[in-house]
């Protein structure tokens, strides 16, 4: 352990100079979501109980590290991902603050995926999609108004959203079209009222008119989208929705499969998935574990518990591995592997679930046209140590967004990771 820490310090020293400099100038400025950006899509997966740090962090830093126990399933993709240690948002501790993962220091502030969705999501049928494997006990994504976004738990619901039947489409179209005549009526009603109210209430009604106009625009956009040909798929879901707690890993894999289809059909470019952590008792390799996932995470440094906890975390990584493989095999419109232009991030808002601490958040980033293959270790105690938000700024810049701030972060990690 000690050795490891020295390593990290040395590593930081080497990059310390560039860290202290403002690095914005060195970043090519691209238009938001410009065609020239290296990455065009973002998938963020968040593990509610985090990942046991000792097992996921490789002992060595830099490129030549030995694959860690938790990351073992990803060994075949070594050159396509980077593991970060020591990053966080300096947020408060506790389960309640978990959503700091994508929100940054303050839970309830607009989350990374939603910032990206506003920039990249306009061209697709769905600006963004929020999913959960298992029953979500927390929120993960927050929009610009601070509203927590609900997540889809049933793979069948996600599937129907992507590959709606003709009847469902007709119904949506009907609701949207008739909804526009609704808006006409209420607008006229508000106009009639306007003549009878006080000056301050006229302002209030202006709010109303503004909202009506905005909703009308969104409806029009949706209606235009409805005429686009729907993607077709041969993919078959099982006859049941795996939402019973012990079937969570099965649900997780299905969601990844459907996400790959969603990206392939360009139905959306921004997705998030929450990995729940309640009392699920998993059966791994034919053996049923001796405690629920949540109980395992409260391991109190007990070796046997940690061993089982890591087995569950390895299962998550196997699902991720399968997803990455699919993104390598599937291609975009130009015939290049989807992974090259898709950023896949697996992270968490909780560093150590046994202590409920929210610092030092293990984070894996794959794809998206970055130069991968190393363990980027940050010593959070070092002066001016970078934040997880700095990494997010780098991710956004990779997607062509002109961004130099995220929550409490004001720099980027471009020098460490590009």
């Amino acid at each position: 352990m000690l050795e490891n820490k020295t390593d990290r310090r040395r590593f930081l020293k080497a990059t310390g100079v560039s860290l202290a400099l403002p690095m914005l100038e060195s970043v090519p400025v691209l238009g938001a979501a410009s065609g020239g950006a290296k990455a065009k899509r973002l998938v963020c997966v968040g593990g509610y109980l985090g990942f046991h740090q000792e097992a996921i962090y490789p002992k060595e830093t830099g490129r030549g590290y030995t694959m860690s126990q938790t990351l073992q399933p990803l060994a075949g993709h070594r050159g396509d991902f980077t593991i970060f240690s020591g990053l966080d948002h300096r947020a408060k501790h506790g389960h309640g603050e978990w959503a700091n993962y994508l929100c940054g220091q303050k839970v309830g502030k607009v989350s990374l995926d939603q910032i990206v969705a506003r920039a990249l999501g306009q061209a697709t049928r769905f600006e963004s999609i929020q999913l959960t494997a298992g029953q979500a006990s927390r929120f993960m994504s927050y929009n610009h108004d601070g509203v927590a976004l609900p997540m889809i738990q049933r793979p069948s619901v996600f599937y129907n959203k992507l590959f709606a039947s003709a009847a469902d489409r007709a119904h949506t179209e009907y609701l949207l079209k008739s909804g526009r005549s609704s808006l006409d009526l209420v607008r006229n009603e508000a106009k009639r009222l306007q003549g009878r109210v006080s000056a301050r209430d006229r302002h209030k009604l202006d709010e109303y008119f503004g909202s009506v106009r905005e909703v009308e625009k969104r409806m029009t956009r949706q209606l235009n989208g409805i005429d686009l040909p729907l993607p077709k798929t041969d993919y078959k879901l099982p006859g049941y929705d795996p939402i019973a707690p012990n079937l969570m890993i099965e649900a997780e894999q299905l969601m990844y499969d459907l996400m790959a289809l969603a990206l392939e059909t360009d139905s959306t470019r921004v997705m998030t998935m929450f990995l729940a952590g309640l009392g699920q008792v998993f059966t791994i390799g034919g053996e049923t574990l001796q405690a629920g996932y949540h109980a395992l995470s409260h391991h109190g440094n007990d070796g046997e518990k940690i061993q089982d906890l890591v087995r569950v975390e390895v299962e998550h990584m196997k699902c991720l591995e399968n997803f990455i493989s699919q993104l390598k095999a599937k291609t975009d419109a130009e015939g290049r592997p989807l992974l090259d232009s898709t950023i896949v991030m697996m992270g968490t808002g909780m560093g150590n679930a046994s202590d409920h601490t929210n610092n030092d958040l293990p984070t894996v980033v794959a794809g998206g046209g970055f130069r991968h293959g190393s363990h980027v270790a940050i010593d959070p105690k070092a002066d001016g140590a970078p934040l997880l938000g700095d990494l997010y700024i780098t991710l956004m810049q990779q997607m062509g967004m002109e961004v130099d701030r995220f929550s409490n972060a004001k720099r980027n990690l471009n020098e460490l990771f590009s």
Binding site: G94, Q135, F139, N143, D145, V147, A148, P150, Q153, L175, S178, G179, S181, S182, L183, L185, V186, E189, A190, R192, L193, R196, V197, S198, R200, D201, K204, L205, Y208, S211, V212, E214, V215, G239, Y240, D241, P242, I243, A244, P245, N246, L247, L278, G279, V281, T283, L289, Q290, A291, G292, A295, H298, H299, G300, N301, D302, E304, K305, D308, S354
Partner: protein, 865 residues
């Protein structure tokens, strides 16, 4: 010196104050001379000390911000806070006549009424939908939150409508319409599903596969901690289903039959749901130890699954039922000394949880040299062990479950076959839909299509808009429907569209748009949303329609009627929770060292609500708010927090507890919820408590502190008392203006810890030689101080006496809060004067709360938009 808030006011509105504005009046000679002689030395345009400028030739009284500015001037003059003591002082008469001039101007120019159109807030919207359509309705999670202002979340100006909110309304409207208008039903296919043990859910330590069967061992309210269910089965069509099960009893205790309950649970419902709340389908008694067949037929609804619950399992995990758990532990250890000895060998806490923990205990059990010397029930170590295990039943039951999986008693489920639907039935949702349709749409009979539509629309509109629609309103909706029908849609689809439209219309979303005195229907709405957070009920609407509501006593009578109804609980909860800030307790996690859990904090919150309600219902004297002879709380809180041991009924429910007047606890200033809401769950914060009392009890809130001042961080070592830290305030004159009001009150409350428990010393937490945290007595608390009027107080008893002696200040404060909540606006100068008058009149009578409350409902402020 005047504080930071005043400065801010000037920065924002200074320009408007002194520019020449429409409606501006010149300042007459006498007041102008007064200003010149006593104020402008410091407050002329150039100096503007403290950011306050009083140099002007005219004043635009039509602007609320200008009136607020001069009202503050009036207040500091009347209180003698200005001019500062070291400056030349005006004669008494001069001061009085200047104050009188300001009073006259403010009274003349401030309006009655003027609430900005109020959008329904979240609670009101939810309740309106429920009441209009008579359906169970909850806001979706994605519904945007409301903004709080002037202490409440129902204030017109802050209830903004944004595009995402209108979009959320649009989606909710379609959802509501769907619940009324029937979609086409799909044909159902009969299926047979075979559920093997491995197709059943395992959650926490509720079940385990043993000997080829799914074994249940615990009884525990949350489904996820006690049940198993077919994990790949979900009812797609409501109907009757035949369920065949093969079951056996594994090592039953004393040959007692095992009771298996089968209950219906919607698959989408949280697994945390409590078993007793689920619909019981069937129960069987299992006593044979070899598999036996059981069969039943039950109604299952779309979306259901069947949960299996071992209803008389001896392993009882419910927190509320600790004695059962304790008895089980004692019986087990008494019968099995070796098991007790093994438990004595292991380290308790999280590592022992679950099957891993049980394996470890078994290792000790297997040892020949297991130390049995302490394994007796009368050994102190045994008592210690049991005490520790009682602290967290959930944790240890997760371990003991594994013992029972191996050694019983357990209930084994071998195979389940579900067949159906045998017969398709109407689901509850479908039944409600049919009934609603009959009520809202009905049969056309011999009416024309248009006549039918108009009748339906008229009825719907008067429900939705809380008043009878005009012909024009009905025309507009008929037009909408007719066009829709013309496009080939059905009559019901037309109604569907009309409902979707009504629920996003301004007449539904906003209440009281017409300025001036409220008409009967708007008045009915104001009263109903005030007292029930819901639209007027049928009786109130009838009273509005007949015009009776506008006659003398009717409004009071209706108010009394609504308060008697159950629905007034919403008023008590929303008003009290926001007035006393006890809503904060929802998110407050008290430090474990304070030994008061979240659940108890919620009960403390109910205490404050029930206390307020009792004050109102029993028409108690105003002074009882501060120094009553009763409270309504739980036995646990009475014991733990208030130190009351006698006269308590042995029940978990809230009960009325008698108190001695003049005591520490009792009344708003000594209630656990209030004292917890004004602390942070770990430390007390005297400044927060002081400000809270000024704002919510005395109605004299200080302006917000300047931004540059850092918050005081509690010094937990106890070397530095908070009093010493606060001393800095008295040294700095600009701080002292407000802090001489705030600090003495906050410090007088320091004898109450962060959950309201009495203490004489600050606690200090240290680690002893074993590394355990222990509490020691720190420095003694000094609750003495001097109130701004010169009264010396020594702690809470004196403070309470002082507030009782100045009870009108409290009455005015509460009256104002009630009217702000009721009308949705901050009150104007003249409205506050009228309140003061009502408070005075009430004091001349018996000074009872109920009387004051109803006089407020009759006031001009309440009756005006």
């Amino acid at each position: 010196m005047i504080g930071g808030g005043f400065r801010l006011l000037f920065v924002l509105f200074g320009c408007a104050l002194f520019g020449t504005a429409q409606g501006a009046e010149p300042i007459p000679r006498a007041p102008a001379e007064f200003l010149n002689a006593y104020c402008l030395d410091c407050h002329d345009t150039d100096t503007g000390k403290g950011g306050v400028v009083l140099e002007a030739s005219e004043i635009d009284w039509s602007r609320a911000t200008v009136r607020n500015h001069w009202e503050r001037v009036m207040n500091v003059l009347a209180a003698g806070e200005m001019p500062p003591a070291k400056k030349r002082q005006p004669f008494g008469v001069e001061r009085e006549s200047f104050v009188a001039w300001l009073d006259t101007q403010l009274t003349r120019h401030s309006p009655v009424g003027g609430t900005v159109a109020r959008r329904l807030n979240r609670a009101e919207y939810r309740n309106s939908i429920r009441s209009i359509f008579g359906i169970g309705f909850e806001l979706p999670d994605s519904f945007p939150p409301d903004v709080e202002r002037h202490g409440f979340d129902n204030i017109g100006e802050s209830l903004i409508l944004s595009p995402p909110l209108l979009e959320a309304y649009t989606l909710a409207a379609a959802d509501v319409a769907d619940r009324i208008i029937l979609p086409n039903r799909r044909l159902a296919k009969r299926e047979t599903v075979v559920v093997e043990p491995e197709d059943m859910a395992i959650s926490y330590s509720a079940s385990s596969i043993r000997g080829g069967a799914m074994r249940l061992v615990t009884k525990h309210d949350p489904v996820m901690r006690s049940c198993t269910w077919p994990s790949k089965f979900e009812v797609h069509t409501s109907g009757t289903y035949r369920v065949r099960m093969s079951l056996s009893a594994f090592k039953p205790e004393h040959d007692q039959p095992m009771r298996l309950e089968l209950r219906a649970k919607p698959v989408s419902q949280s697994d945390d749901v409590k078993v007793p709340s689920l619909r019981l389908l069937h129960a069987v008694e299992v006593s044979r130890q070899s598999p036996a067949e059981f069969e039943f037929v039950a109604e299952l609804h779309k979306g259901d699954t069947i949960v299996f619950y071992f209803a008389n399992a001896p392993l009882d995990g419910d927190r509320g039922d600790k004695p059962a758990y304790e008895q089980m532990l004692r019986a087990k250890f008494k019968a099995k000394p070796r098991l007790l000895a093994a438990w004595q060998q292991v380290k308790l806490g999280n590592p022992i949880r679950g099957g891993i923990g049980w394996r470890r205990i078994k290792k000790h059990l297997a040892r020949e040299d297991l130390d049995l010397s302490r394994a007796t029930m009368d050994h102190p170590d045994t008592e210690k062990l049991i005490k520790e295990m009682l602290k967290d039943p959930v944790l240890y039951i997760d371990t003991i479950s594994y013992e029972h999986f191996e050694d019983g008693p357990g209930l084994d489920i071998h195979r389940t076959i579900i067949e159906g639907p045998l017969r398709v039935i109407e689901s509850p949702a479908e039944k409600r839909r049919r009934e609603l349709q009959a009520k809202l749409i009905g049969d056309r009979g011999d009416r024309s299509e248009e006549a039918h539509a108009r009748d339906v629309l008229r009825q719907l509109l008067s429900r939705v808009n809380r008043k009878p629609p005009t012909n024009r309103d009905v025309d507009a909706y008929w037009q909408l429907m007719r066009e829709h029908l013309g496009q080939g849609h059905t009559f019901n689809e037309g109604v569907h569209l009309a409902i979707r439209t009504m629920l996003i219309s301004p007449q539904f979303l906003y209440r009281a748009l017409e300025p001036g005195e409220l008409d009967a229907h708007d008045l009915a709405s104001r009263l109903a949303y005030f007292l029930t957070s819901a639209p007027p009920d049928a009786e109130l609407l009838a009273s509005a329609s007949s015009g009776a509501l506008l006659r003398d006593d009717e409004l009071r009578q209706q108010a009394k009627r609504l308060l008697r109804a159950k629905s007034s609980a919403a008023f008590v909860e929303h008003f009290v929770g926001q007035w006393l800030d006890t809503r904060r307790l929802e998110h407050l996690m008290p430090d474990a060292r304070l030994a008061l859990g979240q659940a108890e904090l919620q009960l403390a919150r109910r205490e404050s609500e029930r206390f307020f309600e009792t004050m109102l219902r029993e028409n108690r004297p105003m002074t009882d708010f501060i120094d009553p002879d009763f409270t309504i709380t739980t036995a646990a809180i009475a014991k733990k927090i208030y130190g009351i041991d006698e006269g308590l009924k042995d029940t978990d429910a809230l009960q009325r507890v008698a108190l001695q007047r003049g005591g520490r606890h009792g009344g708003l200033l000594g209630q656990a919820a209030v004292l917890a809401a004004t602390a942070n769950g770990v430390h007390t914060q005297p400044v927060v408590r002081g400000v809270w009392v000024l704002e919510n009890i005395l109605g004299n809130p200080p302006p917000p502190p300047p931004d540059s001042v850092p918050a005081i961080t509690p010094d937990t070592t106890g070397a530095n008392t908070i009093r010493e830290q606060l001393k800095a305030h008295t040294a700095d004159a600009s701080c002292n203006v407000c802090h001489k009001k705030i600090d003495p009150i906050g410090l007088a409350l320091e004898n109450f810890d962060p959950v309201g428990r009495w203490r004489e010393h600050y606690p200090v937490f240290k680690k002893n030689e074993k590394g355990q945290r222990v509490m020691e007595q720190g420095s003694e608390i000094n609750p003495s101080g001097m109130l701004p009027d010169g009264t010396k107080i020594n702690g809470i008893l004196d403070l309470k006496k002082w507030v009782v002696g100045n009870i009108d200040d409290f009455s005015k404060c509460l009256a104002e809060k009630l009217l702000v909540y009721a009308t949705g606006r901050p009150l104007s100068y003249v409205e506050r004067r009228e309140i003061a008058q009502l408070v005075r009149e009430n004091e001349l009578e018996k000074n009872q709360f109920g009387d004051l409350f109803f006089s407020l409902i009759d006031s001009r402020a309440f009756r005006t938009k």
